[in-house]
Symmetry: C2
Subunit: 351 residues, 2 copies
């Protein structure tokens, strides 16, 4: 292969405009101390020659890489891709991330990192060294991994922790889990439900507990009990079956269930069917992922829409701004909303 060089460089522009490299550089980076006339002249040359700065060179000289790196869990991501069940959180991340990056001349890359790996540090360290991103977005369950957050802090790379409220380096961000659980619970209460069960996620995910909190508070505010109405799953289908069975097997079973993931909601739907319960007549059901799949079930599920795209978009903005303005230390929350579909209804008035 012929060695590929930049076709038109800052030198060409400088020569064409009859100015120094520095001046061109200043114009590119929108720096002050350039007279409008000068700026215009340089810009004209840039346009004329179709000059675009080489990111590699910019990065080399100690400037930005114009790159935001989103770190996802390797196994979970690949499993979702292979399963082809329509879970679209990567797409939603790209939607929010790429578009917002593009607005600022940045680009977003996805990196898959293995959680269950002893050498998370090595893996991530290698990615950081090779790519030198200007910012990193951490998604659960990486957001609260001290090995990861420590490494990022040490290297002075701004980062966002989605699904984490802990103090420490990086912006903590949430998708409004407590609020969202409230929305779901309120919706059911308004329909007349009093015994509302909750299938939570695993403890490794802080957000699992925030959701429980939102539900429990709302129930308490309304004067309803929650004892024995909460079961934990691992977000997966099997665990959802177990949890749903437990809840529905109780002496006084709930008339409605909120499940913390689409898979657990589907499992609950399945369990209900097995038990001869009609949804929503005998059991109302709310899912906590508004993934495409929940619109194709019978009935389509009422679901909390986690604002993935908006959150990543916000994260990108904060990270890019971090160059000039320190990151917020207080948690930044982008709340979701409830999408009402056919799986929720008034409880059947028995007797």
């Amino acid at each position: 292969m012929a060695r590929r060089r930049q076709s038109v460089t800052i030198k060409h522009v400088a020569a064409d405009a009859g100015v120094s490299l520095q001046t061109v550089s200043r114009v590119i980076n929108n720096e002050p101390n350039v007279r409008p006339a000068m700026k215009e002249r340089v810009q004209a040359s840039i346009d004329k020659l179709g000059y675009v700065p080489s990111i590699a060179a910019q990065r080399m000289s100690g400037s930005r890489s114009y790159l935001i790196l989103a770190i996802n869990d390797r196994d979970l991501t690949i499993a979702d891709w292979r399963a082809r069940e329509g879970r679209d959180w990567v797409d939603q991340m790209l939607l929010g991330g790429m578009l917002t990056c593009a607005e600022h001349g940045y680009r977003m890359m996805i990196e898959l990192v293995d959680t269950h790996n002893d050498h998370v540090e090595r893996e991530l360290g290698a990615a950081l060294a090779a790519l030198q991103p200007d910012g990193v977005i951490l998604t659960p369950p990486h957001s609260e991994n001290p090995l990861i957050t420590g490494l990022l802090a040490e290297r002075g790379i701004p980062f966002a922790r989605i699904g984490s409220k802990q103090e420490g380096p990086g912006v903590p961000m949430t998708m409004g889990d407590t609020h969202n659980a409230r929305l779901a619970t309120d919706h059911l209460i308004e329909l007349g439900h009093e015994r509302i069960g909750f299938i939570a996620g695993p403890q490794e995910f802080s957000l699992a507990d925030w959701r429980i909190e939102g539900w429990r508070q709302t129930m308490a505010d309304a004067g309803f009990v929650t004892d024995g109405l909460c079961e934990r799953g691992d977000f997966g289908f099997e665990s959802g079956m177990a949890a749903a069975n437990k809840l529905l097997h109780a002496a006084e079973p709930p008339t409605a269930i909120i499940a913390s993931s689409d898979q657990m909601a589907l499992a609950t739907l399945e369990v209900a069917r097995t038990r001869g319960l009609d949804v929503p007549r005998d059991l109302s059901l709310v899912s906590f992922d508004n993934s495409p799949i929940v619109r194709f079930t019978q009935p389509a599920l009422t679901a909390v829409d986690q604002p993935i795209s908006a959150t990543i978009s916000r994260a990108v903005e904060l990270l890019i701004a971090a160059r000039k303005k320190a990151l917020p230390t207080e948690p930044v929350s982008v709340v979701g909303e409830l999408v009402v579909r056919g799986s929720t209804a008034r409880p059947e008035t028995r007797g």
Copy 2:
């Protein structure tokens, strides 16, 4: 922000191993002319210090960027992401692309480019100048855009054209459209269908015609007519409705229909329902996208599975190899397979 420098550079390694920068460079790049003992010593230092080469620096000095760029249509991609209907071709691209890239120490990035834009060249040119990818993957409808292929050829960047068989620069690649259409048609013929309708994609996509060809040939081989049994759509739902209505409105309507996209298949399902036709009893239906959505319809659709992941994976391999070995000039085909579900059955024997 503090100016971030590479923490451990090739210099450190050289110093630690007591050799020149050159030797380290040779080891990194697996070049010949390094004595095994030497190589081992250097490698030990690399491991000890946790050294990872800076891609920016490598690119700067005229070497590789270790980057493969996948170009997707901006509008189509964003529309799919926003619609949240579970179309997962971006995910499948990432699955095949990222994993294969990772195997070779490369990374994949997605770039959205606007087709309907007069300045495709500028847009793409800017991306190429900024990123300097070692290879580019073109997806339809970009694969046969001469503005794009010309630019890539001019810059000497190896590229793959998915969904193109035309001669010219870059590897032409197909997902076996003709073959796949054959599979679908054969399946229906084996079930006993003789009048098999086909809803094709728009002419801008060459693959639309390859699929027609596969269907027509197979029909001809079996001695069945195809006249009046082919309608074109634009891959979207509305166009699918129109096409299905036309086919089913005919004097002698087909007993089976192959639709060239999931949306057009769903539309056909809808039209059949409206007309009181039961699928698969009165009408067999095959979709040409095995996207998640087609598993959740009633009935679940028999569908051709386009090997997106495998094709992108293959493309990446070819592009990476292009550094040493010229790209194939003959079309490279990765064929799909048929996934049989509930929407196909023996035709009802009337009378």
